[in-house]
């Protein structure tokens, strides 16, 4: 199997990696970097548990080959929290009791971030449509939809969402 040298900018830090070209971004995050906040739910892009942001776009990391992500800015759920301080989306999920088993939550948070980046004031129908690719089996989506609404209301200024310069970490 061929390998490729790539740099991934994950949560504000640059990682230089040598990856097999068939490795998914999910496997690289979880198995090679130990970033287990991104979850395996189906491996076929149907459940959204593995959603991460590439730039500001939500992608299923289980369907994304790591080798194609060279130079890309990637954000995971852990990257949105600052040493235990939750960002406004995570806080909204906590406040609205939108988390039960929590397995879908990191993906839900990332999908919400991408929605709000495009549409800071979504209607309920737009929220439900945006979440169609993210399955939750615990909540009936009721409190998740409320959490997304609250996150939209509590979103800090756009400047805070800008990319931070990376400091380099060599793997």
């Amino acid at each position: 199997m061929k390998n490729r040298d790539i740099t991934l900018h994950i949560n504000g830090e640059a990682y230089k990696l040598n990856v097999a070209v068939n490795r998914t971004l999910l496997d690289v995050l979880r198995d090679e970097l130990g970033m287990t906040e991104t979850k395996y739910g189906c491996g076929t892009g149907e459940c959204g548990a593995c959603t991460v942001l590439v730039e500001d776009k939500a992608v299923n990391s289980c369907l994304t080959l790591a080798a194609t992500m060279d130079g890309k800015r990637i954000t995971t759920a852990a990257g949105r929290a600052d040493f235990g301080r939750l960002d406004h989306i995570q806080q909204a999920f906590v406040d609205e009791a939108a988390i039960q088993c929590g397995y879908c939550t990191p993906g839900m948070v990332m999908k919400t971030a991408s929605l709000l980046a495009k549409n800071p004031d979504p209607s309920e129908a737009e929220i439900r449509h945006a979440l169609e690719g993210n399955i939750c089996r615990c909540t009936g989506y009721e409190k998740i939809v409320k959490a997304v609404k609250k996150a939209a209301q509590t979103m800090p200024g756009r400047a805070a969402a800008q990319a931070q310069p990376c400091k380099e970490v060599v793997q």
Partner: protein, 792 residues
């Protein structure tokens, strides 16, 4: 009640910050030094076959492979992956006839996905590559997908212990004529004015918990086997694995992990035996076993499908005279839970209405479908689909209002619940019905939709349910709990039961803080590994708050008693005249007189004798409360659901517009968490009645083992939801609480089916009620106005 400041509030969930950031550690997230990766090789091409030849040699020589193990490399003992057999007395166990029929690796494949052998390798990729090199030849056997097929004369026998492939029927010794109930059913039916009867089919639903099953197992140098698992029943799994591998329980350690959804699928074991067998083959090395989603789909037990026949007799004035029912369910290839659902489907039936005569027969037959076991509701949605539709058919023929009929004839306080002789201590179902009816606009919409025109028809329907809070007296309901007070008057509660995500640990912490008189933030609750925590039967039968909460409350009361005893010596006032608030103990009649709890707890731990006087400084000893608690009752919860649906008579599509779930939960310890249970239950109930079913081809292979092909309600499919918490404190439950975990999904099933009946005048006997079935029904019977259905 008004004095409580922590119970009844939406206290912050203890687990959700870690879950929001992804730091919560599920089994698949565990990484240990020297870890190896396991892979179970499964039979995918056959659902019934004998293994003729198994050659492991090429796989064993594959790069990165450490060991390959087959049936001859593991214990020949068999197991039963359910835990029901441990929850009953030995005599009842013998009467029920539970058996151990599951091998770790099989030579007789009984369902698609049965385990053939295991590979242990240095990476998942190496294990996958080696799996492709396993050589196995099968002799295909006839595939039986229904009870009719598997009980036919000459059929291959699944186990010599169960002739005729009849895995279970209600035993004669406990249920005369193999039937639950009593009274003269045949005589009562002859005297009935209206008899409604039909044969139904209830579907095989999948839990679809979001976390696929994963395990880590390791044998340490002292010979102790440790298994990290997300089982709902860690203590019983400890005993099961110890027995299977001939280990004393102290050498079989269970580390419960965060659970990514259960809904019954983790009630017992799934692949713990295979994970542990692999660890035993490579002592000193942890082995991780990650189940793929498509694998999880076929190996974890699903809801029992099958045929459900029922007839109900009424007098012309609506009086129910008798109910006769038979549930013939289809097991998978192994026995697990064969006795459970076959019994409980009838138990929920018996607990619902005041039928003077009742006969219920329950049977389970082996088939070559995937395994069936516990699923949230445990027989209750099946019964709800059948019973509640027939009640509405009776109401239509009698011209009775379905809400009024239910208010008149449901069981209540003093009546027998699901277990004869155990009577209902509380029941607020009338209030559920009244408030639910008001919320959906019942009276107006029932009238309005009774006569409609056009191709789009609307209807509203109602259904009710009863469930249980723990399974006493049928099953063991035992929880041990320890609470210890630290020297700074903070508390640590040790309680073995897992939080599956429903928020039980938060609610238990609320109960502990409220009982102790400590702030919520000064109480810690830990699940604990099997070597540290005391016994707990596990998270089943919606018991965690009702039984576990009562245990936590009693342990905290014991700690508080010791605290007050010591304060009484200091204050010179009898202990029964003391109270505590926010960690300050005071005299009830003179609140200004008091002592800080910390002064007592500190003196108990840091106990010194005064070097000048030789006098002791307070009472020595750390305060600990301990209880080994057995639940005295099962205080069943009740619920009423109301649905409004829109049926497109040209496409057969059913859109659920609104769903009201009004539930009598006794008391909500944490209302937001209770709402979450009822809301999430609706999503699964709607799936049962409208969209979810595992399909098999003629060879017994699953056709829809993915989230694309298996249809769950997504965020855009969900209706408007209204949740009504009816709080009528139960006299037995802790702070009046009854259960809520399972009940939310049950009555939406009947309510939606009855709303469809109201909309188009047709009942559907097969769930899920898909557009195809609706269209077929309309073509065969024609759309009829509900208002024209009255016969008597």
């Amino acid at each position: 009640m008004s004095e409580q400041t922590i119970v009844g509030t939406n206290a912050p969930r203890v687990d959700v910050r870690d879950k929001a950031t992804g730091q919560a550690q599920y089994a698949a997230d565990i990484q240990l030094p020297g870890m190896l990766y396991g892979k179970v090789v499964r039979c995918w091409e056959h659902a019934h076959a004998r293994v003729k030849r198994l050659d492991l040699s090429a796989a064993a020589a594959s790069p990165g492979v450490v060991r390959v193990i087959g049936p001859k490399d593991v214990t020949a003992k068999r197991y039963n992956s359910s835990v029901l057999d441990l929850m009953v007395s030995e005599s009842m166990h013998d009467m029920l006839g539970d058996i151990d029929d599951q091998p770790i690796f099989t030579e007789h494949v009984k369902f698609q996905g049965d385990a053939i052998c295991g590979i242990i390798a240095r990476s998942e990729e190496a294990a996958e590559r080696a799996a492709a090199k396993i050589v196995v030849e099968y002799e295909p056997l006839p595939v039986y997908l229904t009870a009719e097929a598997s009980r036919a004369p000459g059929a291959v026998q699944f186990t010599p212990e169960k002739p005729g492939n009849l895995a279970f029927q209600l035993p004669e010794a406990m249920f005369p004529n193999h039937a639950l109930g009593g009274g003269d059913v045949e005589g009562a039916m002859r005297d009935a004015d209206v008899v409604v009867e039909d044969a139904f089919y209830v579907p095989k639903q999948k839990q679809c918990q979001m976390e696929p099953h994963a395990y880590v197992a390791k044998v340490d140098s002292g010979g102790r086997l440790t298994c990290w698992t997300s089982s709902q029943m860690p203590k019983l799994v400890q005993r099961k694995l110890a027995k299977l591998f001939d280990l004393p329980m102290n050498l079989m350690k269970i580390v419960p992990t965060v659970i990514g959804g259960g809904f019954g699928t983790r009630l017992g074991m799934i692949s713990e035996p295979q994970a542990c067998a692999m660890a035993l083959a490579v002592p000193g090395h942890p082995v991780k076993l990650q189940t793929l989603r498509e694998e999880d789909w076929v190996i974890s037990p699903s809801r029992h499908p099958g045929k459900y026949w029922m007839r109900i007799g009424f007098k012309r004035d609506g009086t129910p005279v008798a109910c006769d029912a038979r549930f013939e369910n289809y097991k998978g290839g192994y026995y697990l839970d064969a006795s459970g659902t076959a019994f409980t489907a009838g138990a929920w039936l018996g607990g619902m209405y005041r039928f003077p005569a009742l006969r219920y027969r329950g049977e389970s037959y082996f088939t070559n479908q995937g395994l069936t076991g516990a699923y949230r509701g445990y027989g209750n949605p099946q019964t709800n689909f059948v019973l509640e539709q027939l009640i509405d058919r009776g109401c239509a023929e009698l011209g009775a209002d379905p809400v009024e009929w239910r208010k008149k004839w449901h069981k209540g306080v003093g009546d027998d619940g699901w277990c004869p002789g155990v009577t209902y201590p509380s029941c607020a179902l009338d209030e559920c019905l009244d408030r639910g009816a008001a919320a959906i606009g019942w009276t107006e919409k029932r009238r309005k939709y009774a006569k409609q025109e056009g191709t789009i028809r609307r209807g509203v329907g109602v259904a009710v349910m009863n469930h249980t809070s723990g399974a006493m007296p049928m099953l063991l309901e035992h929880t041990a709990c320890t609470v210890k007070l630290n020297e700074d008057a903070t508390a640590e509660v040790l309680f073995a039961c897992s939080d599956m995500g429903q928020g039980s640990h938060t609610a238990l912490k609320q109960i502990a803080a409220e009982t102790l008189g400590f702030p919520f933030e000064h109480v810690q609750l830990s699940g604990g590994t099997s070597d540290v925590a005391g016994f707990d039967i596990g998270a089943h039968a919606s018991r965690t708050i009702y039984v576990g909460g009562a245990a936590v409350k009693k342990a905290c009361e014991e700690a508080k008693r010791q605290l007050f005893e010591r304060a009484s010596l200091q204050l010179g006032v009898p202990a029964d005249q003391l109270d505590i608030r926010n960690k300050r103990i005071f005299v009830k009649a003179d609140p200004a007189r008091g002592i800080e709890a910390e002064a007592i707890t500190r003196a108990g731990v840091y106990h010194f004798v005064d070097p000048m006087t030789g006098e002791p400084g307070g009472v020595p000893g750390q305060i600990q409360g301990y209880v080994s608690f057995f639940a005295p009752h099962n205080s069943p919860p009740f619920g009423a659901s109301f649905a409004e649906v829109e049926v497109d008579t040209e496409t057969g599509e059913v859109r659920v517009i609104e769903l009201v779930n009004a539930h009598d939960i006794g008391r909500a310890i944490n209302p937001a968490a209770v709402e979450g249970q009822l809301e999430g239950g609706i999503q699964q109930g709607l799936g049962f009645v409208l969209s979810e079913e595992i399909d098999y081809d003629a060879k017994g292979r699953v056709q829809n083992n993915s989230f694309t092909d298996y249809k769950m309600f997504g965020p855009e499919d969900m209706p408007k939801i209204t949740t009504i918490l009816v709080e009528d404190a139960d006299p037995i439950g802790p702070f009046g609480a009854k259960s809520v975990g399972e009940s939310g999904l049950v009555s939406p099933v009947g309510a939606v089916a009855n709303a469809i009946f109201h909309a188009i005048g047709i009942q559907f006997t097969e769930a899920p009620i898909t557009p195809e079935k609706v269209l077929k029904g309309i073509l065969e019977k024609g759309v009829r106005d509900y208002g024209t259905l009255r016969r008597s």
